[in-house]
Point group: C2
Chain length 206, copies 2
């Protein structure tokens, strides 16, 4: 299947399609129409057809798309077939919630360690190494790590991100209330809760 450049907008929608197709697959549904996808995801049917053409999912009039084929195609495009390791920087409430986040396994992501300046309160986490942040360099030199999840205070977020990047980490998932952006092949997703909450309050005041 041709691997085309996919626009930012389509990338936004890709995870929605994938999750929906996974649900259909679990329910043993074999085919789905663009209309059904459209209704379920609140995206126009023509946009659905256009997007799915990118993934080689040429639907057939009357019988729709093959769920397994499309799901596998997206899984590969999304990079979910590759196992990714992740570390959590910052073991506060948010960090702890992230360590036990059930969605990681679904995306072939595995948290291997959590780092903090104070680690006593984190000792009982099974399967995840609890380490002092001073051991970061040593850990990363021994353990190839794909993703660093930043859940420290705003003041330390950038410095911690730069630290892990200098040690070879290429993906940053940032939960600190500050926008991080990097060049040179490092990708970053910012989950900005305070901005989301502000938008919620703003919209409700209209």
């Amino acid at each position: 299947m041709e691997n085309k450049q996919i626009s930012e907008r389509v990338i936004e929608r890709l995870p929605k399609y994938y999750r929906y197709l996974k649900d259909l697959s679990s329910s043993q549904i074999e085919r789905v129409s663009s209309k059904t996808i459209s209704t379920a995801l609140n995206i126009t049917a023509s946009q659905v057809r256009q997007d799915l053409m990118h993934f080689g999912g040429f639907g057939q009039t009357g019988i729709g798309y093959d769920v397994e084929f499309l799901k596998s195609a997206m899984q590969e495009i999304l990079g979910l077939n590759k196992r990714h390791t992740a570390i959590v920087i910052g073991g506060g409430r948010i960090g702890q919630a992230l360590i036990s986040y059930k969605g990681f396994a679904d995306e072939n992501v595995f948290v291997t360690a959590v780092f903090d300046v104070e680690t006593e309160h984190l000792k009982t986490l099974s399967g995840v190494s609890v380490l002092n942040v001073s051991e970061l360099e040593n850990y990363l030199s021994l353990n190839k790590t794909d993703i660093a999840i930043i859940s420290v205070q705003k003041e330390y977020a950038e410095q911690m991100a730069k630290r892990v990047i200098s040690l070879g980490v290429k993906s940053i998932w940032n939960f600190a209330p500050i926008d991080l952006n990097f060049g040179d092949g490092v990708v970053c997703e910012n989950i900005n809760m305070s901005e989301s909450l502000m938008r919620l309050i703003y919209k409700s005041s209209r």
Copy 2:
């Protein structure tokens, strides 16, 4: 100051401006140029000037914008001068992290209660009532609540949201891995962690 309709795009940027102006204000900085804002927030200077015109913040060439004036104007537009009460539905790890989320007070939001089907593990949260989800109707009939924060499993998210909406809640902050949308004056912000993670992995695979 004229209260114009502000486009979706500007709404996206509004929280970033506000947070930045708050930081400047804390540092006792009185004036700021569009160029400085531009560099700090990675938005073009002309876009900054255009956006700020919406908020009545007419900068003066050579001396820039008045930080306090702009900050106050945005605070009002964002609805942050009004106190908002919130309840958390779902006391799992994410719910617990949200209850102790420090960003609420900054936005004049106060969590008053958390609801779950099992409440023993939540008993020690100070200042926040811990209640069984069966008490939801009673609680909401006695306590005007602006925001319901949904942190339950995907399967229960929509039903819980509809339940609180039927009891008068107008804003939903949704952390469950499913997109929720409502009409009739109910606003919703979806924090979709699994989609964000998928985008991160996708971008890193390119």
